[in-house]
Symmetry: none
Subunit: 298 residues, 2 copies
DNA sequence: GGAATCGTGGAATGAATATTCTATTCTTCA
DNA sequence: TGAAGAATAGAATATTCATTCCACGATTCC
């Protein structure tokens, strides 16, 4: 990095007026947060980016960071000078020092997970418990979900005109999130079971060109099971996510996944299910994009 | 870093003869140690320096490192090329990546993932990516959520008569799941923003004896932000979950948590958020149970 | 409402950078 | 010993870099 000659000391005093130049990352973060309200538009944009992507600042070049943050390189320099630094490079040193000081040792991780500060407080152990359970759940699906089955599920859903999402109660947030993602990805979908009463009408529109994704964990919501059955009888291919090979959903499904969320104190979170749902959603969208590309080629 | 045109492929094959180019720091370290004995004098000098001062390699320039290691800059380039890299810069990336990935346990998981069957199929890599991202997210919250803040949040919500849940769009599944869990746990709650139009009426019922939990990630839904502001102005304590210190939610919140979900290919799942939400929900319910017990004793 | 200050975008600039090239020194084996 | 090859040092080069500068909008303040 260029180490230019120092600026005129007299001019320096103009900028470093009120507070001292921060010497470490925490100090810098504090000052940025303190002044964030008074910062001009672009500088605030840089501030937000810097605190959200400190690693990028540490390693990137002014040009690359500027592109990522959607700002001019000169804005980065102005930002640094605004906080009393000589230029962008000296600001960058703070971000680099932050990475240097961190001990990337095995010990730290171990302490963070088992014996960290959280366990000192009463609620802390609950927090730790759920984080650990989520880790276990993820380890679980990585091994229990068969790649071939996943591939088949993606193909089924990618070929569908409309994807019907069936989920109730505990599973509902999963389909809710998929609905959100499908919407963003421009994949046509239809949620089943939002408003009471009209479900049958919605399901009546489903045909063999469509597909469905059903989620239900024990104790299985009878509605979801029945709706999956109904769809299967109408030749709509069903992909399902459930927690047991004996799930009533399995019989109605062309492909189904067994996903057991690890629990903490009897409560299960949805961490692994969410990762699975997102993977499936994106994989389907990606597959569709590729199909569309191939068709455009012809 | 200068990205020159590729070298002559024929000349390339001279260098990258036997083994593949290492992709991570551990692999590089192994190869260096393996070949260290056969290395020429200056290259061995560089090898020793590199393994002893990895941070210097990560942050320094070729010139500065060369001076420290008492070597010519060109020697660094030759060293990098000796191990199959295109130049010094690409070797440096390895050292930088090492600092970026703060979690040592994560490396193993990633390698375990990329080595399993999933990577053979096209959709498999997407699946792996999201599982890995979820792991990273969980590692993140374990260190970024302060136990004291968590404790305060639990206290606020446990003392509330009714808990108002504020979330839109991407965050909606989180509050949806909390609503489900609160219902099972017999904690009085009220979702905000389900049916259009009546939100203001619902919020009008909230008072200082209640509390709110708001979730919003960038790009922040203006509705959520406004509703949190409104609640705060009505003396309703607000606990919030968001992804940046710059989140507009932070201003209105008594306690707020910064939780950045790791992304895969630009898509973020909700795995860590779900674990957090569940931990908070159960911790609140647990706290309430204890309060109720204490009152019963009197 | 006009002047003045501040913030911004974008091109210009020279310093610094990684890399290549070549002359020289050091090994190695006949 | 002496030639052939590898390894090295150091200058040369093209590129990239952070920074500066200036013109143009946007605010703010009389």
């Amino acid at each position: 990095m260029p180490q230019r000659q120092k600026r005129d000391p007299l001019k320096m005093s103009e900028t470093e007026n009120s507070t001292a130049i921060p010497q470490d990352f925490d100090g810098l973060k504090a000052i940025i947060l303190e002044r964030k309200a008074q910062l001009p538009k672009r500088l605030r944009q840089v501030a937000a980016y810097a605190l959200d992507n400190p690693d990028e600042i540490a390693f990137g070049t002014a040009a690359s960071i500027a592109t990522s943050a959607d700002v001019q390189p000169s804005t980065l320099v102005r930002f640094a000078q605004h906080f009393g630094f000589e230029g962008f490079s000296s600001l960058q040193q703070i971000f680099r020092a932050r990475l240097r000081e961190r001990t990337p040792g095995y010990d730290e991780r171990l302490r963070a997970l088992s014996g960290n500060d959280h366990s000192k407080l009463e609620s802390g152990s609950i927090f730790n418990g759920f984080v650990a359970a989520a880790h276990r759940s993820l380890d679980n699906i990585a091994s229990s979900v068969e790649p071939e089955a996943f591939e088949r599920a993606v193909n089924i859903l990618a070929d569908a005109e409309t994807i019907y999402l069936v989920a109730k109660r505990r599973s509902y947030p999963i389909s809710g999130y998929m609905a959100y993602a499908f919407g963003k990805l421009k994949v046509r979908y239809q949620m089943v079971g939002t408003a009471a009463g009209i479900d049958d009408d919605i399901l009546a529109m489903a045909g063999s060109k469509d597909a469905a994704f059903a989620v239900s964990f024990s104790p299985y919501a009878s509605e979801s099971v029945n709706q999956a059955k109904l769809l299967a009888s109408r030749k709509v291919p069903v992909v399902s996510l459930t927690d047991s090979a004996f799930s009533p959903l399995a019989e109605s499904s062309k492909v189904w996944f067994e996903l057991v969320e690890a629990d903490h104190a009897g409560f299960r979170s949805l961490s692994a299910s969410m990762a699975f749902a997102m993977a499936l959603t994106v994989a389907v969208a990606e597959k569709r994009r590729r199909i569309a590309e191939e068709q455009a080629m012809e």
